[in-house]
């Protein structure tokens, strides 16, 4: 069975949402954090609903609705989300009040909306969708787990037109804590120089990207989602190379068949060494692209990468801003996305032209 990406929508720190142009007018950020550019949400929900919704709920809800609209689908066969941190804003609000008010006179709203499944639940609620609904919350492979779920549902013939998305929000609190944990740069940089700074840490990011998956062929489909694989704590570089090759071999491919590799290079010297080494070994001679200077580093950024890959294939164009190496002039028909999060969770996604 072939699985297709029927439509996609992405809210990110770039103008990726409600924009017919594909990654033009790149937004430059000077700092250590990239914030999502928020659309006018009034198009997607009434003001009363919007007032109650946190940042992540609004981003997820709007990206989901836009994705359905682009895919001409009113009712998805399933709704599946991946989020590592869940609804941080509401979680921190309720936790802070609990401590500050010594557990007294607490309003319930923040707690109600703090559960990790809130985004998927709100989408179901808005659509009155009674179908399969699931949420994965596993660090750097939250989105990949959701995607695997969607692909299995299609293979089982349990559902069609599956809405699957990856979303995470960065709040001031999480940014402060994750910075203290060393995830982000200590001094401001430009996101457009992210890979040249050669220092520890990346730039914080956030966003929501949704996809509509189907097993029905159509010339309107963006791309084929050929395969996906997650790898936990590989032993060393050779182990990674071996697993990438066997993943490709299972799909009757060799690395020379790949027109473009999109890597998860983050500008963090402690993490990018893996990409640097692969780029001159296994990926040698292959066209390369990066994406985290556009969306920042966060656990579900691979959803942004999948949005990028499927739109590169549909548009038959690799935007200048993502190119790292142009070894040969080709229109990408097969793209491999390779990302790792904190060197612990590695994922591979194979996207092909339809």
């Amino acid at each position: 069975m072939k699985i297709y990406i029927r439509s996609s929508a992405c809210i990110s720190p770039q103008n990726t949402f409600g924009n017919e142009n594909f990654l033009t007018g790149i937004v430059e950020y000077n700092g250590t954090r990239l914030k999502a550019i928020e659309p006018d949400y009034k198009e997607f929900a009434d003001p009363k609903q919007l007032r109650r919704m946190s940042h992540i709920i609004k981003m997820g809800m709007a990206a989901a609705m836009e994705c359905l609209k682009k895919g001409n689908t009113e009712m998805p066969g399933a709704i599946i989300t991946g989020t590592a941190y869940g609804c941080l804003e509401d979680t921190v609000t309720f936790l802070t009040r609990t401590i500050e008010q010594n557990e007294e006179l607490l309003p319930p709203t923040a707690f109600i909306q703090s559960t990790h499944n809130t985004v998927a639940a709100q989408i179901a609620l808005m659509l009155k969708c009674h179908n399969y609904n699931n949420t994965f919350v596993h660090k750097g492979i939250s989105f990949e787990s959701a995607l695997l779920d969607a692909m299995m549902l299609l293979k089982e013939q349990e559902a069609d037109n599956i809405l699957v998305g990856g979303t995470d929000e960065m709040t001031d609190t999480s940014f402060t804590i994750l910075s203290r944990l060393g995830l982000y740069k200590r001094w401001p940089v430009s996101n457009l120089d992210l890979y040249a700074t050669k220092t520890r840490g990346s730039m914080g990011g956030e966003g929501a990207a949704f996809f509509l998956l189907t097993d029905k062929a159509s010339e309107n489909n963006l791309a084929e989602l050929t395969a996906i694989r997650t790898i936990y704590k590989p032993e060393n570089l050779e182990d990674i190379e071996k697993r990438v090759e066997s993943f490709l071999a299972e799909n009757n491919l060799k690395i020379k068949d790949i027109d473009l590799v999109i890597t998860g290079k983050s500008g963090d010297t402690a993490h990018d060494d893996i990409y640097e080494q692969l780029n001159v070994s296994l990926f040698n001679g292959v066209n390369l692209a990066n994406y985290k200077h556009l969306c920042g580093e966060y656990p579900t950024s691979s959803a942004f990468a999948l949005w990028l890959a499927s739109n590169i294939i549909k548009n038959e164009l690799v935007p200048e801003t993502v190119i790292e190496r142009n070894a040969k002039n080709t229109t990408p028909k097969r793209i491999l996305i390779y990302n790792h999060y904190q060197k612990i969770y590695h994922s591979l996604m194979l996207v092909s032209a339809i």
């Binding site: 709704i79 802070t96 609990t98 609620l125 919350v137």
Partner: protein
């Protein structure tokens, strides 16, 4: 696609026991696990009863073999998951593709609460070790590392149906031939965050809960973990021990009514139960026991009862809410109650619904009141419904 998924091992910890054997004994003695709060540091102590695991953090961590400052959520998880794996007695899990699919709702929140006390005062303060494993996925990772599982791990969080969905997803990973063996279930520890959260919703009973009773007044929170080892047919054939049963049916449907409340007619619950029956190819009359979601809140029990009436009328199987023993263990409840459902088949048990007195006005049936042994229990339905309208039903069938 591989045909059947078998249950080869069980592990559970909750307020009524630290392992499967202790649970069976507590059920037979009809002994509930609720009491005054003794481990959680909260102003609700001596006011709201909860069902705590009877070990403090250090004792739990020591029992699990984890560092003393480990999140209670991870310690509970490891204790139950390890019991399940030992019970399955698979000679070498590394001979197969083995995964760990776990669920929880607040991850390492019990530690984050400590971090935030100092952090709120001064953002440069707070011991980072206490917040490092805040994420739900961290709990799964810690346990997988201890169990030596590397092939696949993930975490599901769909509120109170979380671990039922973990079991469901795990079974499908086997059916889709992604994995051969999966340890699946969930864990949740009591935290100030959840206790206060549920308290703001005014759905906590300040007495011991009375699920499915006309005069029920809410739920009691509990904590614990429950896991099962699911194996493919191929793996089952290599094992010396006969598997407990099969996971024959499952369904996940959404109520799509309200973020926290269930629809009056229990649409989501009805669709989940009906879908699970269809998946298993069984009729309502084939079900020998229903392990109810049965939280004890007026809203849940009314919605769930109405859905059961719509699906099962006029023949009702025995049913009960084991939350009358364990309290509502949130993200762990689906895993814990799946373990109870399998034990019901294995030992021919129907669990009593403690403290039940008065049948609900709107329902023509009532739950089982006494512990029954030697019953013919072949097909068991286990219900788990949660915030966000997430409703999941599982059906286990004897072999």
């Amino acid at each position: 696609m591989s045909s059947s998924v078998y249950v080869a091992g069980l592990g559970v910890i909750s307020a009524i026991g630290n392992n499967v054997a202790e649970h069976l004994a507590s059920f037979e003695r009809e002994e509930a696990g609720m009491g005054d709060i003794s481990h959680l540091d909260t102003i609700h102590r001596n006011k709201l009863p909860v069902a705590e695991v009877k070990l403090n953090n250090e004792e739990l961590a020591a029992k699990a073999g984890l560092p003393a400052d480990m999140s209670r959520t991870a310690s509970l998880s490891l204790i139950a998951a390890r019991e399940a794996l030992n019970d399955a007695a698979i000679p070498n899990i590394n001979d197969f593709r083995t995964g760990f699919v776990s669920a929880n709702t607040v991850g390492g929140m019990d530690r984050s609460e400590h971090f935030f006390i100092d952090f709120i005062e001064d953002n440069s303060k707070g011991k980072l070790r206490n917040v490092f494993d805040h994420e739900c996925g961290s709990m799964t990772e810690i346990v997988a590392d201890q169990l030596g599982i590397k092939d696949f791990l993930t975490t599901i969080s769909t509120a109170c149906s979380s671990s039922a969905n973990a079991i469901f997803y795990a079974a499908r990973l086997i059916k889709n031939e992604v994995l051969d063996i999966v340890i699946a279930g969930g864990t949740d520890a009591l935290t100030k965050f959840t206790l206060n959260g549920f308290n703001t919703l005014m759905i906590l009973d300040d007495e011991f809960c009375k699920p499915f009773d006309e005069h029920r007044e809410g739920l009691n929170l509990g904590e614990g973990a429950g896991y099962m080892v699911l194996v493919s047919e191929k793996v089952a054939k290599t094992l010396a021990k006969q598997p407990y049963c099969k996971l024959s049916g499952y369904n996940n449907s959404n109520d799509a009514y309200h973020q926290t409340a269930s629809s009056p007619d229990g649409t989501g619950s009805y669709l989940a139960m009906k879908g699970a029956l269809e998946k298993s190819g069984l009729q309502p009359t084939d079900i020998d026991y229903i392990n109810l979601h049965g939280t004890g809140t007026p809203n849940n029990d009314s919605a769930e009862g109405t859905a059961i009436k719509r699906l099962f009328d006029p023949v009702y199987p025995p049913m009960s809410s084991t939350k009358s023993f364990t309290g509502h263990t949130l993200g762990a409840s689906g895993g814990i109650e799946a373990v109870f459902s399998v034990l019901a088949i294995k030992h021919g048990i129907i669990y009593p619904n403690l403290r039940f007195e008065t049948r609900m006005n709107e329902l023509p049936f009532e739950p089982e009141k006494t512990f029954l042994k030697g019953q013919n229990v072949n097909h068991v339905m286990s219900n788990s419904f949660g915030f966000g309208g997430n409703c999941t039903s599982l059906i286990f069938s004897g072999i």
